[in-house]
Symmetry: D2
Subunit: 370 residues, 4 copies
């Protein structure tokens, strides 16, 4: 369905940018998972607008659990999370609603919902809807962490400024993930962080915006997870990650660079290492035939520049069908890529819990934690 | 499920490379669609191994409709297509089954199916399974064509050799699609075809293989198709296309090039043209907020080099856990990208029929054809 | 999933009896449906505990729409309804939680959720969860009414006291449905109402409870709705109605009485009437081969006596595994059948909107209303 | 979807009565299940038309496994079963297709498929489609048997002639199931068998048909299986069983008899027995709150009289809209209830494997069998 993510766990996402609240219902969690609320809030915090590189709309994003949670544990029945919208500005959107913002969903929403969409601040298409995804993703990450699975994402390219990539070996990756987890700006190399932030601010002053590329890695996934075809890991994760607003590209392992390799170069030879079957290289990003091979899962996600910019743009009035210009008011982000990193982590976590649950049932989420 | 594609139409894919037959059941087609068998066979033909650039295993790939088809029309009940495997070689796979072929699904299948997989020729993971997808996709393309929607895919990059990209305007694209439809090798520029074929043969002689990038375009999709989040066009198409073996990257519109643009450059300004709201540029590939905006839908798919190569490779014996070398015998493709183009077309068609059917019901597939 | 109802429209039900709130997310509604809040409240009112024949727990059951609703119309994105639990008594459930209430879900919840269930007042298994179903059902009934489809349910048997059955002809049924809609106690024959209420009170005084049979009818469904097998009308409606707590039997048309008929008696001969193909009798309850035939859809639902009774009962302590006796305290219903009628109506409405939407898409919910 | 059954295992049913073949694809089976083909054939045999109490159309119903099966074990990829239609008579159905057979799906199919249905012998609506269900059900029963779960169904009422009901205690039920498994006519009491068969033949001579009631029991299901609401055991099983042609009623435990009991009589007191929590009575048929309580699961299914009778019936010509009479030719069953018993068993097995797989994953089907 339009806003129902997942299969063996189902996440029903709801809300609008300027409605009363946004939220999510998670159906398919096992009973008895002790939620780490500090961790959830820690993840929520990563997504929050902070400082000058983000929108001036600062939301508390306090999660409020309405159901499925009792005495500190999940009950096994649908867990509902509500997040109030507290910082909506009472401007009159109805005046500007017909001037279509370029590269936003204003026009497509008009055509799809024939005028009945909640047009205030992008409505259901708003990036705010990623807040409940992060809350749900944090629960999934917690489940995975208990199984020894860790996920992390950093900006590897922001308008041409590049960060160090994740290492190849698991211990180094683990260290990188730990370091990343405590950073306010998700990059591996600290110097890069300040360059990227300066780049964002430069474009902000120019009434402009920038995008970039996120690199993600997952360690600890056993070989044999995922399914051929419809539920290949690539299918599952891409479907979820492309649900995130502004994502326009995804690649696994070498990704588009496979186009300029040959089979000899690209094939990952099998070797014995530490008593286990591994591959010498990991060009396939830990996935063969849609199924995990035990190596780190690696993927990159491209985030387009925020379409909301302060510069004057050409547009059309939907009602009058006349050309016009548009100067977007309100508060918005000169870049969202640093806030999107945790959303990608969350979607990966949701996808992996979904695939593990298919194989081992929802009891898998619980039983080994005793 | 593992091999069940789609939502409002469900396609249940089955079979193994060296089993008796492969096939697909399509549940959710309207009654009364007059199948154009010539067109289906024409599409099947595009996928067939032909000449020296493909495997020596030549399969007739005759489609045999077992159910759901009566007096030349779909009946509205599940349509089943069977394709016999006729050209399987009776070699003894059990000897080599434990020597894991690099970058194939041999190892992951072993781990997932704990030794019970059909290991002959890749089993269910074989590229042969794309034959029923093409048959189903041809039916979907036929439905779409009746609605004025056309789809086409060409190789825009084969190991560095590039083809002209699709044009921007619909009439030119239409001409390109028509021209492409009759070509044995899916490129727009005829000179490029011979260069690419020579490149494939060069690597074949070198016991090697190559990959590349496919560019796809869809014209005629009205604005308002697709859903936010889970059923965004990007989610739906990426999920289906990543089901195709060897696909490792997908991007829409500018895709990864968004990383080096700014909002000012990337935003697609709205304009009035031919009395309709359109965008001046189409950097978003016809999709905003996951929903079609009426502009051509554009995407690129990266196909990795065929993992089957004749060169000797390092590997491991799954049972003995000992390092070994492997020289893949049998018949295989030095490149599959030219055969994959029609598979991508098919997946796009399946995805779009799925999304249209969600909005207008399965009756949409039928009613306007009267 | 456990608590996600429907297919082309998805309803994600959540909450517990003594949690903060219960609610539902409806994903798959068209944009532009003008909600009739008075009608929704009217339906909610039918389900409310009133007078002595129901529990002393009186809940306001005010529906609060959190998302998917804007300026009086549905937006086409998920519509979320919250209902606060206001009248929960602060008794200490933890003392009695291990004494299993006979014929309740206490024991099965213990086994399924291994001790983590919210045991207060039945938790997620509580009849309170039918309140959001009624709210969602009211929206679906409103959609159907716009298409000329009407649904109604009355008690045809309460502990042996029987009501008149619905008539056979549509105009009479329509009159009966209109009359029924305004009644506080859902029976066709007013005299029967007082007898049934007296019967309930008699058993209440005896610290006992009673059940009965509901008869439902739907008029206005065109021939051709429903699907063979998995989505037969009987499959769809039974699946939804058996989700209602206390339902233990469902039959369509003659139902179990078919066992004592013959084909000659049971077959519904086709006739021409009012220029339309109809059947002379309607033993099949408007459904042939799982699909509507244009005649009124008729079904009966058996509701067991409320398992909560004040009489002392034998039980077992789950933790000590010792036999014990139990006297249920708290507030409960001596019968719930009169409150269940509107829940059955709601489930029928949900099921029919689901089946219509499969055939005509979600746009069907909207387009003809203009 | 119309003909796709199940959730965590998906069964895609296809074919028509007079097409070339019917069949089913099962997606979601674990790898490594050693199929007992003798058992599958034994189950298929129970459904076959035999002797004078069934149709003269005798089909071999040989199952042919096309995919998902290798060296005697399931592979974990979709398992496809084909059953040829061998005994179709080449009569000209096109002459009679417009004379609607009462209580068949002729009219509803016409309306739903607007004339494109395969009308020969009921097409996809034919009882023949239950053959692949029995094959799939046999595989599920085999999985369940390995876990100590047994299922059985007998005719408890055939046009008023009643059989002994299943016992209450598990050892007796087990003996009854074993005895039943070897019987050609599924009743517990041998005398009843001959009476019922005589009754069928009597009505056959009268150009008539009869129906009846099936009683089913399942032993060995642990407490805690099933889900609240949408996937309650009652919802899951009723949805599947109502997919079987001719089923018009289902009840669990006391079923409709709950209407004349009180809570005191109906409640199943908990007791300790054999060191386990059990209930003294089993009026709820082993299910509380939609979830198994460890007691035998008990249900009854009403099968209507076969609508195909040789007597002349009133009907209408669909095309001319004129009243006419109809004398059904061809071969058909004077009763199908004895053949339907194994179909109900199969659906129960499919439903239980589905629910167990949701809880424990598809690996549950395999792992404990080692």
């Amino acid at each position: 369905m339009s806003s129902t993510l997942g299969d063996t766990i189902k996440l029903s996402l709801f809300g609008e940018s300027h409605g009363e609240a946004i939220g999510i219902v998670i159906d398919g969690l096992a009973a008895g998972i002790p939620l780490d609320l500090d961790f959830i809030n820690h993840q929520m915090d990563k997504r929050k607008a902070k400082g000058k590189t983000s929108t001036a709309r600062k939301e508390a994003d306090e999660i409020h659990i309405v159901s499925g949670y009792f005495n500190g544990y999940t009950t096994g029945t649908p867990l509902t999370i509500l997040i109030q919208n507290t910082n909506t500005q009472s401007k009159d959107y109805s005046k500007t609603k017909d001037i279509l913002r370029p590269s936003h969903a204003d026009y497509t929403a008009y055509e799809k919902y024939h005028g009945y969409q909640d047009y205030r601040g992008g409505g259901h298409f708003s990036g705010r809807l990623t807040a409940p995804i992060v809350a749900a993703g944090a629960i999934c990450m917690q489940i995975l962490k208990n199984k020894g699975i860790q996920i992390g994402t950093h900006i590897c390219n922001l308008h041409g400024i590049t960060d160090t990539l994740f290492s190849d070996d698991v211990p180094s990756i683990e260290a990188e993930l730990n370091s990343l987890d405590s950073k306010a700006f998700p990059v591996l190399n600290e110097d890069t962080a300040s360059q990227m932030q300066a780049e964002i601010l430069k474009h902000k002053e120019d009434l402009n915006s920038v995008g970039g590329i996120l690199e993600s890695v997952v360690i600890g996934v056993q070989a044999g997870i995922g399914e051929p075809f419809a539920d290949s890991i690539e299918s599952k994760l891409s479907s979820l990650i492309f649900s995130i607003p502004a994502v326009k590209g995804i690649e696994f392992g070498l990704g588009f660079d496979f186009a300029t390799t040959t089979g000899k170069e690209a094939n990952d030879a099998f070797i014995m290492k530490d008593g286990k079957i591994q591959t010498r290289t990991n060009n396939n990003g830990g996935i063969n035939g849609g199924i995990s091979n035990g190596m780190p899962i690696r993927l990159k996600t491209c985030i387009k520049p925020t379409p909301s910019i302060y510069a004057t743009q050409d547009s059309v009035n939907y009602q009058t069908k006349e050309a016009t210009t548009l100067q977007i008011e309100g508060r918005h982000d000169p870049a969202i890529i640093h806030r999107a990193a945790v959303v990608v982590d969350s979607m990966i976590a949701i996808g992996l819990v979904d695939l593990y649950t298919k194989r081992y049932g929802y009891m898998w989420q619980y039983e080994e934690r005793v």
